[in-house]
Amino acid sequence: MQKIIKITIIFLLIFILGIFFLSLNKSLNYNTESLVGNKLGEIELVSFEDDSIFTNDDFKKNSFTLINFWASWCAPCRIEHPQLMELSKENNIKILGVNFKDKKINALKFLQDLGDPYDFLTRDSNGKQSVNFGIYGIPESILIDNKLTIIKKFVGPLTKQDLNNIKEIINNL
């Protein structure tokens, strides 16, 4: 009997630690490989300024949209911000910001200090909408085309290399 309990305990511990290990590598595998090429599901995002709703149809108007998930409390978001500012100068792409679990005043201060790259800004105050996008840690960004197909997904802060990558994609088509 004791042996069974011991084995069960060890098995459980290995299982949990194994899950932790899988989760560590998860975001990379999951986000870039399995989502790319998929279509975006039904989207309903609430605008940052008023209660108007941003839906799939709004995406169809732009040839490319980068959906960027950010928050003022997220330090890496500060690091990627210059890249977003630069990208906002491009004509072929619109940037949709999703402000994640944030307080409005802080979010605005953030944009005031570092600049506002967003063509549209929406909010996800309790973080539920972002889960539907498969977002687990922020910052994350999803590049989609006007058919709502996910072209690329970026986990963590956008680097200069990512920026060039996006520019290549949007200017080649």
């Binding site: 004791q2 011991k6 305990i9 060890i10 511990l13 949990i16 630690l17 899950i19 932790f20 290990f21 899988l22 989760s23 560590l24 590598n25 998860k26 975001s27 999951y30 399995s34 940052f48 300024e49 008023d50 003022s72 409390w73 997220c74 330090a75 890496p76 500060r78 690091i79 679990k101 944030d102 307080k103 409005k104 005043i105 802080n106 605005l108 201060k109 953030f110 944009l111 005031q112 200090d113 506002d116 105050s125 309790n126 973080g127 539920k128 889960v131 539907n132 498969g134 687990y136 840690g137 922020i138 986990v155 963590g156 802060p157």
Partner: protein, 624 residues
């Protein structure tokens, strides 16, 4: 310059730590019962070095030395000095240094305060604690170094997250760290106890103070975080069952169980292995929590930056800790045949432990389940308040009854329970509940039971204070405030009011028992925004009291955006919470109003709860 000093001090600490471990092994080989003088000296040096190392970093933040990446990324010259200092631990690297300080200081204090315990037990504790310290020092030096330099030196820093610039959040990490990093010392002591067969009463005495003090700080730390989330994040309410909040609650449950099982171990010399498991579990859960929030698996304010190597390091460390403790426990475990009478204090304390384990498992499952389903099936789900509320709340009712009766029961074997007294108390509790429902408002059956059971605990605890010849004030205050906590949560939940309506300037609207009047709108110009400040008078028709709240609509120049700032008024009876927003092409304003009764008492109850812990610490120190 500071970068070199910091790195030098880190390396010096590693040398001291290794030397302590080396000397301790040498000391173990000697047959006499004396610990080398040198071990005391190096331990003192080690603590001093780590402290100087930490203050070097604090200094770098104070003078805004941007040659350090860490200071550059988390500070700014224009920041108030208070937030420059708190910025030291407002980031991953700096907070790890705080970890090591607590590990080291607790190690030193444990060494010098437990002189009446055998040498082998103390030395083994020291060795294990120092292995932990060494692990974290290596982690800091090679993976998360706060003293890494940057070249060329930037002129200005990126600034601390605005959301972290808050007094509550400045003290939240140190408080919480004393709690859950402090639990490392009884993790080490428990391992040492099993290795050296130093069990029973004396072992319990050697760790009791440490458990109490870490529990008290953990309680305060959780409270401060919770208050901050209430007013800053606007999460609504005092507890959101967010995975990050849960991560701090898990070790708290284990600590609370341990706190009680130690009483049995000290008094009756039973439940030894169970107490050991709880010691190991507490610190393991603390490290697990750190892993979950720091690796980026759980997303929160605590996720500073996603760096996979960081997660791997903590996970390896955690696995090593878990398997070492499981191995030692399995090889040394001896089944005991503890005789416990079912009508005795021991039984009631065991019941407390079962409840704590039930809460722990529930919260653990709720926290891990989404991670497991995501890892296995890519299925993203979120476990929210409905799960916790439906599983935990009904059980709390029974728990409160046991909590009230337990302290009345005697050790070993109770003669009889005074049912007459209990009956009086329960009638009293039902009467209080009846008065509330009769005069104010009726609520659901489960809420009735929550109120009755919490009042039962409150009255019963107060009555204990008058009966026993020897009063344990620490216990009375803790149990009493826990009763109050649940009582106020129950009332707050049932009596919260939320209203949503439109109002124009000069208009008065009557809703239920309130009159709302938009008396004035003022336009004010500030540095970077202008604000429309409303003056809304709320008159309570039942008491004729008038209150004025001033919500704001802010218009920022750059970028041009509107924000709505809530106005919160707190008093001893209720919090009023009001926001105002404009409606396009209309002279009306949308008003959202909330009344949250007795909010402040929830916070006060938790402060009292931890105060009970501090009292118990003093009492225990006096007794020994």
């Amino acid at each position: 310059m500071l970068s070199n000093t910091g790195n030098f001090l880190l390396i010096l600490s590693i040398l001291f730590t290794s030397f302590i471990i080396y000397q301790s092994f040498a000391c173990l080989k000697k047959t006499n019962d004396v610990i080398f003088k040198s071990i005391y000296k190096i331990s003192l040096l080690q603590s001093t070095t780590i402290l100087i190392c930490f203050f070097t970093l604090v200094g770098a933040f104070m003078v805004s030395d941007f040659s350090l990446i860490n200071v550059y990324q988390n500070s700014h010259t224009l920041k108030p000095i208070f937030y420059k200092i708190s910025g030291t631990w407002g980031n991953h690297e700096g907070s790890l240094l705080l970890w090591v300080i607590i590990l080291t200081i607790f190690s030193f204090l444990f060494l010098i305060t437990n002189k009446n315990h055998p040498k082998n037990y103390r030395i083994n504790t020291l060795i294990i604690q120092n292995i932990l310290i060494l692990g974290f020092l290596f982690f800091i030096l090679f993976n998360s170094n706060p003293f890494s330099s940057i070249s060329p030196i930037p002129k200005e820093g990126l600034g601390l997250n605005p959301i972290l610039q808050d007094p509550a959040l400045a003290i939240h990490p140190p408080l919480l760290y004393v709690g859950f990093v402090g639990s490392s010392i009884y993790f080490s002591a428990a391992m040492a106890s099993v290795i050296t067969n130093y069990s029973g009463k004396f072992f319990a005495q050697s760790i009791k103070s440490w458990v109490i003090i870490s529990w008290s700080f953990q309680t305060l730390g959780i409270l401060v975080g919770s208050i901050w989330a209430y007013y800053e994040l606007g999460w609504g309410g005092f507890w959101f069952w967010d995975p990050v909040e849960n991560a701090s609650l898990l070790p708290w449950f284990a600590m609370t169980a341990l706190l009680h099982s130690l009483l049995v171990l000290e008094k009756r010399n039973i439940l030894y292995f169970w107490s050991i498991i709880l010691c190991l579990l507490t610190f393991t859960l603390s490290v697990t929590g750190t892993f979950l929030v720091r690796s980026g698996i759980l997303n929160s304010v605590h996720t500073f930056a996603n760096d996979p190597s960081r997660g791997i390091y903590i996970l390896s460390f955690l696995s090593l800790m878990i398997f070492a403790s499981v191995y030692i426990l399995f090889t040394k475990y001896k089944p005991t045949n503890d005789q416990i009478n079912s009508n005795s204090k021991e039984t009631f304390i065991l019941i407390n432990n079962w409840f704590m384990m039930f809460y722990l498992i529930t919260v653990l499952l709720g926290t891990l389940y989404p991670i497991i389903t995501d890892a296995i099936s890519n299925n993203k789900i979120s476990v929210g308040p409905p799960f916790y509320n439906s599983v935990i709340i009904p059980v709390v009712i029974i728990f409160l009854f046991f909590m009230a009766i337990g302290p009345k029961v005697r050790w070993i074997k109770n003669e009889f329970l005074n049912f007459k007294d209990l009956l009086k108390i329960i009638v009293g509790a039902i009467a209080v509940n009846f008065i509330i429902t009769y005069f104010f408002k009726s609520y659901s059956l489960i809420s009735n039971l929550i109120i009755i059971s919490s009042v039962f605990l409150i009255i019963s605890t107060i009555s204990d204070a008058f009966k026993k010849p020897k009063i344990n004030f620490a216990r009375i205050i803790s149990h009493f405030s826990f009763g109050f906590l649940i009582f106020f949560i129950g009332l707050n939940h049932n009596f919260s009011i939320e209203k949503d309506f439109n109002l124009k300037l000069g208009e008065t609207k009557k809703i239920d028992n309130f009159n709302f009047e938009l008396k004035d709108l003022k336009l004010q110009q500030y540095d970077n925004y202008k604000a429309v400040i409303g003056k809304i008078q709320i008159s309570d028709l039942s008491t004729n009291k008038k209150r004025t709240l001033n919500p704001e609509i802010r218009i920022y120049d750059n970028p041009q955006t509107l924000t709505y700032e809530a106005s919160i008024k707190t008093n001893f009876f209720r919090d009023y919470y009001l926001t105002m927003s404009n409606i396009d092409r209309s002279e009306y304003y949308n008003i959202k109003f909330q009344e949250k009764p007795l909010m402040i008492w929830i916070w006060i109850s938790v402060v009292m709860l931890s105060f009970g812990g501090f009292l118990s610490f003093i009492r225990n120190a006096k007794n020994n």
